[in-house]
């Protein structure tokens, strides 16, 4: 059941109605039932996976917390009798027990994710190696269902478990409440990856009908549908045409393809998240924002603070910080500080930790070398930027450009182009195609296709281009307006006639200009596959 299907609209409409009709104490159980119905419709076989993650994480978190509570009680009871050393030994012993539960649960759940998502990727690589050594034997690929949203709900559950282990949140006592946290359907398929501490309060509290909240939620959903159906799904035709035929579409076409794909990805992913946040908002539930106008970033580092915020924060808190503060890494840091003076060498441990994060980010995005190289290229650009920072600072000071408006616009344009190039690794399945197409930008010399009418053969008509131009302009204007506060608040402050025209107009645009019809496949949001 896709967000853009009529079934989904009917499903959410019925849910909204029921949510405010049932007794308030039944609201979260209703959401749990709805989430499992949604997941059951997606694929009955998937249920076992999400149930396994839910049950093991719930159990491990409870065991960890019970152990921590027992430790506190014991230390309190024997405070006077125990020496400092005995207390320390006892604490370390208990911590080891908790760590064991944590590691077992993490390995089990990331193991499930690894098996269903990466088995065939591993088999393909083993077969390549066997073939390279002249072997005739090839391993057969296996058929495994990839449960919907498994990367998202696994990460969300593992984040919860680590937080309980760290003692930053209390473990949820009620199994079914925890089951809802893991399976809450609007965010199940493409995030955001919520933290229990952020989501749980509004997820489980009782909500009375509030006209403004419901209205704002529906408006947010509408804006999401506009991005997804009017922009992303329209431009998809041209992107598919360009990446589907490397023999015909190279050189200048790749520039067009990169720009189109970057626009599609933005409209698709942020649109999907708008729908997710909007659905939750209708029911009074607050989900954290996942984007902060990312294409206005002045550097790649800033971009990754503003794009897919919940995923980046997850990798920062649960991979980057633990790796960089781990014993071996701290020893390595000490070693490099004592032996070497240069900034690059002194930064080496941080860059090494960052390497692990970007490798993991690449792997998380998909079972393909393209994604792994994409992750490592991001890492390389970030390392180079970090190390050249003093040089940039001197340049800015010397030419007094650091704060000028035109230079800031230049920085944004530069970052946007860089992101476009990196996004190309999303498009092609084979690395050779990606690099070949990038090289063709400089070798094909077919720039005339940009103005000789060839772009009209990409599956888009003049009307489509017109709609895309207006739609993109609307995205830009809304983003610019967001700098000074909520756009919905600004519209809400206008007279009724203006508000009616804006929202009814947007509704009509989605209705009349959304990409529908024969050949239109409302199959996937891009991030569903992760």
């Amino acid at each position: 059941m896709l967000f853009t299907s009529y079934e989904f609209l009917g499903f959410t409409a019925a849910l909204f109605l029921a949510y405010y009709c049932v007794p308030k104490k039944c609201q979260w159980p209703l959401l749990l039932a709805a989430s499992y119905i949604f997941y059951f419709i997606a694929g009955p076989d998937y249920l076992i996976y999400i149930l396994a993650t839910t049950a093991t994480t719930y159990g491990a978190a409870r065991l960890i917390e019970q152990n921590a509570d027992r430790q506190s009680a014991y230390l309190k009871e024997y405070k006077a009798e125990l020496t400092k050393e005995e207390k320390k030994d006892y604490k370390e012993g208990q911590k080891r027990i908790r760590l064991r539960w944590l590691v077992v649960c993490l390995l089990l759940n990331t193991g499930i994710l690894a098996v269903v998502k990466y088995t065939n990727f591993m088999i393909a690589n083993i077969n390549d190696v066997l073939a390279a050594f002249g072997g005739n034997r090839q391993l057969s690929f296996v058929t495994l269902a990839l449960p919907l949203g498994i990367s998202f709900y696994t990460f969300q559950a593992m984040g919860y478990l680590i937080d309980v282990y760290r003692g930053t949140i209390r473990a949820e006592k009620q199994f079914f409440r925890f089951a809802l946290f893991v399976s809450f359907f609007p965010q199940l398929i493409q995030g955001p990856i919520s933290r229990f501490g952020d989501l749980s309060e509004s997820l489980f509290e009782r909500h009375a009908f509030n006209g403004k909240t419901v209205c704002y939620g529906l408006q947010r959903m509408l804006w999401g549908y506009f991005k997804k159906m009017v922009i992303a799904d329209r431009i998809l035709a041209a992107v598919t045409t360009i990446i589907g035929d490397t023999g015909t579409y190279h050189g200048a076409y790749i520039l067009v393809g990169m720009l189109f794909y970057t626009l599609e990805l933005y409209a698709d992913f942020t649109g999907g998240i708008d729908i997710t946040i909007g659905i939750a908002e209708v029911m009074g539930i607050r989900i954290q924002e996942n984007f902060n106008r990312p294409y206005f970033s002045k550097s790649l580092k800033e971009y990754w603070r503003r794009w897919h915020i919940s995923m980046c924060a997850w990798f920062r808190d649960y991979v980057f910080y633990p790796v960089s503060s781990s014993g071996p890494m701290q020893k390595f840091t000490k070693f490099t500080r004592k032996r070497f003076k240069g900034a690059l060498v002194r930064h080496l441990p941080v860059h090494l930790s960052s390497f692990v994060v970007w490798l993991a980010t690449g792997v998380w995005h998909g079972a393909s070398w393209n994604f792994i190289v994409w992750g490592l290229l991001n890492w390389a650009v970030l390392v180079v930027s970090e190390e050249l920072e003093p040089l940039y600072a001197r340049f800015h000071k010397r030419f007094l450009v650091g704060k000028s408006r035109s230079y800031r616009i230049f920085q944004m344009g530069r970052t946007f182009l860089l992101v476009c190039v990196l996004n190309l690794f999303d498009c092609y399945h084979a690395l050779s195609d990606t690099f070949g197409m990038l090289a063709s930008l400089f070798t094909s010399g077919n720039w005339q296709v940009l103005w000789d009418g060839s772009l009209m053969n990409l599956g888009l008509s003049g009307l489509d281009y017109g709609i895309l131009a207006v739609g993109t302009l609307m995205l830009l204007l809304v983003s610019l307006s967001q700098r000074s506060g909520s756009v919905r608040d600004k519209i809400a402050a206008k007279p009724y006639a203006v508000r009616f025209c804006v929202w009814y107009g947007l509704f009509l645009i989605v209705l009349l200009m959304g990409a529908y019809g024969i050949g239109y496949d409302a199959s996937q949001f891009i991030y569903n596959q992760f």
Binding site: R166, F320, Y321, S324, H347, E386
Partner: protein
């Protein structure tokens, strides 16, 4: 406190760490800075800052960071 101020000033000479109270929220310190900082602090104060301690509340100001160091020294 003086040693800590020296470490912070070396990292960002242009920042007034006496006054700033939103170092993480205002993105003056990013995750790269925080990781660089903990290595220096661990070595200078002989403490062990773990991932659990690496939250904005502990790094938003020099005062908060110093309080964290003192807490770890006491443990």
């Amino acid at each position: 406190m003086e040693e800590l101020m020296n470490i912070l000033s070396e990292l960002h000479p242009d920042v007034d760490f006496e006054k700033e109270e939103r170092l993480v929220e205002d993105m003056i310190l990013d995750s790269f800075d925080i990781v660089s900082l903990i290595s220096e602090i661990n070595e200078e104060f002989d403490v062990t800052i773990t991932a659990k301690d690496m939250i904005p509340e502990n790094f938003n100001s020099a005062k908060a960071l110093y309080a964290l160091i003192q807490r770890l020294e006491d443990e």
